[in-house]
Every structure is written in C-alpha cells, then in structure tokens.
Symmetry: C2
C-alpha cells in the first residue's frame, strides 16, 4: 500500500507478451517488497510524459541487475523507450472503469458513458487479460441489452482510426462466421466497382480457418498495402481487395478478439460491435451482411440467425449505417476449393465465366452483389441481381478485377500443389450432409493457409448422386509430410461427407 | 495447426509469473512459426513423465540461443526440471473442461462431475488467467445454484491436502469479511482448548487489510510452523494459532482467490466453497462463522447476510459439516487497535482480564466461544456463554494461551511504535458513524501490517459523547515518513468518524 516512487534503468529483454504490458523487476526492488507479489500486482510505469499500466513479473536471477527494470515489447512500444533510459515506477491507483465491469458482472446494465470509459481503458492498455476476460464473460450469453450493444459499438468507433474515401456511396460486405470456400468478396468488389460504387474492401487473414480473403487474394496479387497505397488503388479503380491488418479500425476489438479466441466464445453483443464498428471506421455507409446458417456453420439455426439479424439491424440503424442482412445456406462449403490457391482458382473461374465455374459461388456472389447495388440506392429494388449478372457476364467485372490487381501491384495465376490424395465414396448413394468444420480441419492439417496451394477440393455438394469409388474430395498439400498428416487425421474420421 | 514435436534445451531465466505457467521461446523456433503467435498460444511442455500446459511468450533477443527454451518459476517447479535438461514442446489438445466453463458462461447449470474436472484442471495448472477469470465471472452474481456450490465445494475438498488431528471433536471459527481489529480468534482458541476441545487454528496473513490473525499473533509468538510443528503443538495443548499459508488445503481456491482479488470481486458461491472446503480439509467437524454486517463491512445488510447464511448452512449440511453462522455488528472496528501490535495488545488485555480491556472485543469473543462450545455438543444449549466467561475470568484461558505460545516457540510482549499523531474532534457531539474502510486505509498507509507496531488506535466507538478537541483516534507509525504519508491522506478525508 505504500506509494513510493522508484527510478529504475530500463534494460530490454525482448519478451513479447502481446497486448498485455508486463514489467520485470528484481525481487529485491522496493516495489516488489512493498506491494507484495501475492496479489497479481499491477504498477504504473512512466517514461517522461508517457505512462502505462503493467502487470508485474518478479525476476529471481541475474538477468536484471540491481536498479534495472525490463518491459515487455508492447510496453516498450507504448512508452517509446530506449535501452538505458530511466523510468519511474509507482503504485497503481484504482482504474475507475473496472468498477463498471464489476457492475456488469453483477448483472447491471451499463450506460453509454461507462462503455466509453471501459473501451478507452482497454485501448490504453489499462486492462490485464484477467480484466478483459471478465468483461467479455460478463457481456456474453445474452447479457447485453440492445442499448448496451449500441453503446459498445459507438465506443469502439470513437477509439478507432477513421478512414475517408473519395465518392459519395461507400459500400461494404461482411460474412458472419466463415463458411469454407465462401470467397464471394473479390467477385462482389469487381461487380459493384465496375458499376461505379466505391468498395474499399479490407479483409482479414485466416486465424482459425484454412483461408481468409486476404490469404486467397495474396495468391493472385499483393494485399499488404500501406494506407496510402490502398487510397491510390481506390481512387483509381473505385475498389480494392487488400489486407486490413494494420488499419487500427477498432483497436479495442483487436484486443478483445484475442481473448475471445483464447476462451473460444463468441457473444452476439461483442460480435455486432466488432463488425459494425469496423465498418463505420472503414468509412462505409452501406453494408450487406452474409449470414450462412447450417448445422456445422457458426449460426446453427434460422432462429438464431434471425435473432442476430434483428439486433444487428437495430444497432446499425442507431449508428446511422444502412445495413441489410442476407441469410444464406451454410450447410456445406461454397465453390469447390478450400485453401488460398484453390479458392482463388474458383474466384477466377467465376470472373472469367468459365464453363466449369462453380455455380453456387457464382450465384451467391450475384445475390450479394445485387443486394448491395440495391442498398446503395443507385439501383431500383428488384433490379440488382439482373444488373450484377449483366456486369459479370459481359466481362466487365473481370476487367475491373484485373485492373484492381494491376493497381495493387500485379496479377499472377494460382499455383497448384504437388501432392494430392483422392477420398472416394465407400458406397452408392446421395450426399446428404457435409461437416464444414472437419473439412476445414483437413485443409488446415494439409498446410493451409500458410502453404497457399494446400487444401481440399470438394467435388460432391449435397444432393449429388455418387457411386462407390467416385471421388468425393481431393486433399492437396505442398509437402508429402503434411499430406500424410492430414490423411492420418482422416483415417480416424467417419462421415465428413455423409452418403445415404 | 501442425502438431510437430520439438526438443529444446531448458535455460532458467528466473521469471516468477505466479500460478500461471509461461514458456519463453525464440521467435524463430518451430512452434512459434507453426502455431502463430496471434492467438495467445498455449503449448504442452513435457519433461520425462511430467507434463504441463504453458502460455507462450516469444523472445525477440539473445537471452535465449537457438534451440533453447525458458520457463517461468512455477513451471520449473511443476516439471521438476534442472538447467540444461531437454524438454519436449508439443501442440496443445483442447482442454475438455473449458467446454463446461463455456457452458456456464452461457447460463447452463453444471454437474458435479463437470466441477470436478474444472477444479482438477485448475489445480493442474491447465487454465490461463483468462480462463480462470471467465470461470469466476461466469459463477459470480448469483449465477450458481445451491447444488453447484455444493459440487464446487466438494471438488475443492477432493483436490486439497487433508489434515488429521488427535481428538474426536475438532472445532474451528471463521470470520467472513474482516472487520478492523476483530481479533477474537486467539481468545476463542484459548478458551475452547482450555475447556478441552481441539482447535488447530491456522490463519491467514493480511492481503488487503492492515492485519491478519497470523500477522497479529506473530508479534507475540512464532507462527510460521511446519505441519509437523503444528501437530506437536496441537497434540500437547489441544490448540494452536499458526499461519496456514503452506498447508495446501484447497490449492484450487488459492489460485482462484488471486484472480478474484485482481478483479476485486467476491461471489457468494466461490466464497462459500472457499471457506467450507478449507475447513473440511483442515479436519474440522464443527465451525462457527462470524458474519459482521455494516455499511462499510463486506456484508452491508442483514438481508444479504441472511441470504449468505442460508446458503452456507445448506452447503455445510450437504458436506457433513456442523456449522453455525453468527451475524454480528460490523458498524465499527472491534477493540481499539488496528494493526498487528496494537491488536495484539488488545488481545492480551482481554486474556489478562485487564481493567481497561476493550469490552466489545471481550464480549464478541465470549459470544463466539460460547456458540462453539455449544456447537461441539459437549455443552448444553444456553450454557456456552457463561462457561466461556468462567474460563476467561478464571485465568485458565490466559494460561492456555501462554502454553500455546511456549509450544509454538516462545512469548514476547508487543512493541509500541515511536511516532504517533492524535486526531481530535472538531466539534462537540456524539459519534454516530465510523468508516471501517478508510480507517483501515490509514492504518495501512502508516505501515501496517509490514511495520508491526504501525496502525491506528480507535478510542471513540459509536455512541461516545465527545467534546471538541477530544482524541478520536491515534495514528501510530514506525517511521516519520510513513506517519506523514498517512497524515497526508487524512488531510483530504472528511468524516471517517462522524459526529452529530
């Protein structure tokens, strides 16, 4: 409880603890002695005008000398500190917004101002993982009122970096809970920007899936662009398909999402705030949400999807975003390829109007592009789908796609993996069910997304009549070891593709 | 997603991260590359037959050479590993019991078997702080059914170290939510063991308060005893008043309590499981719970206390523990001293039947000792209080106390602090309210519990008629700086003692 102030010399140990700031101090330093180390102590570390909160780890060795302190990499960055500089360590005064987290834990509704303070403290790095986890848990399981979700979304927008684009009508599209192969984004961007709307699409890389849109596009064109580069592409072509990783659209969400993944939970409130805050920060005014529903998709029932849809629309309305949710079929993958290069191949086949292009991917892209054209207000209701089809069939969408790729740095054809293995039907029948999750897992075990050409080619959608010995899907891998690894997993799995 | 197994050489860096195991690995090692570091990665580390789960920190410096790994101190201890030994690092398979935590987050009731698995995984170190925080939060705010609290308590008992004592009737006493100065324990132990019951009392040190019973007793006699020493004292004298820190009575609770303190929340379910599991593990069959209620006590209303009382009694009954809850007055400190030596002085005054002994401390101790005598079944209902009084008045309790101190290693008189400052009434009137929390804070700022003789002497209980200039309380400190520190805080505080 003593509030001594300590001056210590900073020594870098190079320990990366991610977003949570850590301080490393010798067990014989004043703070360790006076604070006691039993209570997961947090301290304030100050370097000139910059100050952070850090969790304390005690060093019981000679890697630090008397009078030295070390900091985790994130803390070093936040403090902007150089080796040998002097920092001040002091007692941490209580963080007010944690009182609101406690209030939420005990079931109370929070105000807009309280969410603002919580989110600001999260962005400032004032919460430890323990606090972040408690906040997420307290807000999960339908414990957030719609007003609270609106407040959380607004707080995330207010703390994010805001993008500005040329053009009046900025459109975007988002898919809730990825479905393997559901790579409609590059097709939609090509169609709507060929029409004349502005669609500055920044996508994510895969975190737990076999491919994100950024991974898939990277097979064809550079996606790691600076904000300046992205702006130039959009100014020139009206659209882009880039990686959005460094945009800091919602820094609070970037932190919360890591903890949610560690907990393996998705709460609808956080999900809505996450998606919509990023859309607003990205400068979008009109957004189509693709919401696939299926037994092995993220949303497992139409009821659950409708519940989420209603909440999402309410929040969008409150924050001034024109939004339409399209509930789609999530019973099976879209297109054939699962994995960056295989999905890129499907995307190109659709854009090129190739005779063997997967019809489901084409139709899903046209559905969403049509809805987006109508949502923009530039196309009358009922005419979007036909117009999108006309733009695609005419080759204008493909031309626009190529132009965007050129603007992003060039175009190349997807490579094909060297190793492959066919999985065949064990009996005659009709495909009745597909396990998206296990099919994704096979693709990941085969090397996707790091090995771009690895993955799965899924050939027999639900309803396909198959004969014993017919190929159901093909596993692709860039190395023999990984192919074997995927097959080893498959040897213990039954019924990924169910035939009846 | 790749499941490579890596052999690495262990190097100690001496970093103490408390209960959460951490592994430190270079950014160029296989695991860091293949697992990706974005997702708060956890890995399995194996040393021979021992295996732990650790959270990964990535090292971006030369403190580790290629092929080396370091581990936090807790992980080193759990693996029993020596510098230079070779460990295996592998992918972590999902921890099943986290599925039950998720289920609880989404509002489902858990079974006894599910709590057993959760608590076992916590004791095994398989939960990160993120998971622990989610479990605590999901169980807080009246989200646990009584059957769940029983299951949690039983799971904690099953994973704890169990103590065994000579004698048939082992009794204990616990106070929920400490009240400053409420140091009845040494007096109660002396009375009931003088009577012939066995009361092997192990107490805690202060974590957030100005003194725990162990801190107070340490002023008078050694309290850091081994289990063997404690057993010898109890065999000889029928009672002890030792520090229980190393007893491992409920290792899951020891971990959960740290995270609860970081969150600054107390949930009734965890509280009941914590207290009762430790009592059963400590070998007690009969327990009195002191439950002080007051505006600035932990329990703020009689209704809240009664709710907790009913739940606690139900759980005790289910696990075969004879328990009685005594709701007491928590409006103000008990006795005069707040801080180890000042409280020890009060305890000795009561035991010695000194004419100036604080009456409230004496009467509270007699009330609880009387209840405990009756609960044991050896004393008839209605006779406990008089019997306790007789034992105290006769000097037998003091004799027993001295004998226990001698058995624990000797007796010494409490020291008196050198520096003091009197806080005086600013007007005439009657004391109507006392702020326990701020009075405790003054005692802590003055140096308690580390500086044993520091603290506060509170002289004017509620109802005292005071004149302007009369001393309300005295601040004691061992150093001038700390006295000033406490006074600086006081200069900004009004109405700690309210006079009307």
């Amino acid at each position: 409880m003593k509030h001594q102030v300590n001056k210590l010399v900073f020594k870098r140990l190079g320990i990366d603890t991610q977003h949570e700031h850590f301080a490393y101090m010798r067990e014989d330093c004043q703070v360790c002695i006076s604070e006691g180390f039993e209570a997961l102590t947090r301290i304030r570390v100050t370097n000139g005008k910059k100050s952070i909160v850090a969790s304390l780890n005690v060093v019981r060795s000679q890697i630090l000398k008397t009078g030295e302190i070390s900091l985790s990499e994130s803390a070093i960055q936040a403090l902007g500190i150089e080796e040998g500089a002097s920092v001040t360590v002091s007692h941490l005064h209580p963080i007010d917004s944690l009182g609101y987290v406690r209030s939420k834990i005990f079931g109370n509704e929070l105000t807009s101002g309280q969410f603002q303070m919580i989110i600001k403290d999260i962005v400032d790095g004032n919460y430890s993982n323990i606090h972040l986890s408690a906040f997420i848990t307290a807000c999960a399981g339908s414990r957030m009122q719609i007003d609270e979700i609106i407040s959380l979304t607004e707080a995330m927008i207010d703390t994010g970096h805001k993008m500005h684009w040329p053009g009046q009508c900025i459109v975007d599209k988002h898919c809730i809970g990825g479905l393997p192969g559901n790579r409609t984004t590059p097709i939609i961007v090509s169609i709507v920007s060929a029409f004349g709307l502005t669609m500055p699409k920044t996508s994510s890389r895969a975190i737990t899936s076999p491919a994100g849109t950024a991974d898939t596009m990277e097979v064809i064109t550079p996606v790691t662009l600076t904000m300046e580069q992205i702006k130039r592409v959009v100014e020139k072509e009206g659209g882009c398909i880039a990686w959005g990783g460094t945009a800091m659209l919602s820094p609070a969400d970037d932190i919360l999402i890591k903890v949610e993944k560690a907990l393996d939970i998705d709460s609808e409130g956080q999900l809505i705030a996450s998606v919509l805050s990023k859309k607003v920060s990205a400068g979008s005014g009109h957004v189509i949400i693709d919401m696939p529903v299926g037994e092995t998709a993220k949303l497992r029932s139409i009821e659950a999807a409708n519940l989420l849809k209603v909440q999402m629309e309410k929040v969008a309305h409150a924050i001034g975003l024109k939004l339409k949710v399209v509930i789609t079929d999530g019973a099976q993958p879209v297109g054939r390829g699962i994995g960056p290069a295989l999905e890129a191949r499907d995307v190109l086949a659709v854009l090129r109007n190739a005779p063997d292009a997967p019809v489901d991917l084409r139709e899903r892209a046209l559905l969403l592009a049509g809805e987006l054209l109508e949502l923009s207000g530039k196309v009358d209701a009922g005419e979007g789908n036909d117009l999108a089809r006309k733009i695609l069939d005419s080759g204008k969408a493909y031309d626009k796609f190529l132009a965007i790729c050129q603007a992003q740095g060039g175009f190349s054809e997807p490579k094909v993996a060297k190793y492959r293995h066919q999985i065949k039907a064990e009996s005659d029948g009709v495909v009745v069910k597909v396990d998206n999750r296990r099919l994704s897992k096979v693709a990941k075990l085969a090397g996707a997304p790091d090995d771009k050409a690895s993955g799965v080619d899924f050939l027999t959608p639900i309803g396909t009549k198959v004969e014993q010995g017919q190929i159901l899907y093909v596993v692709y891998a860039e190395s023999k070891g990984e192919l074997e690894y995927a097959l080893e997993y498959l040897s213990s799995q039954k019924g990924i593709i169910e035939i009846a």
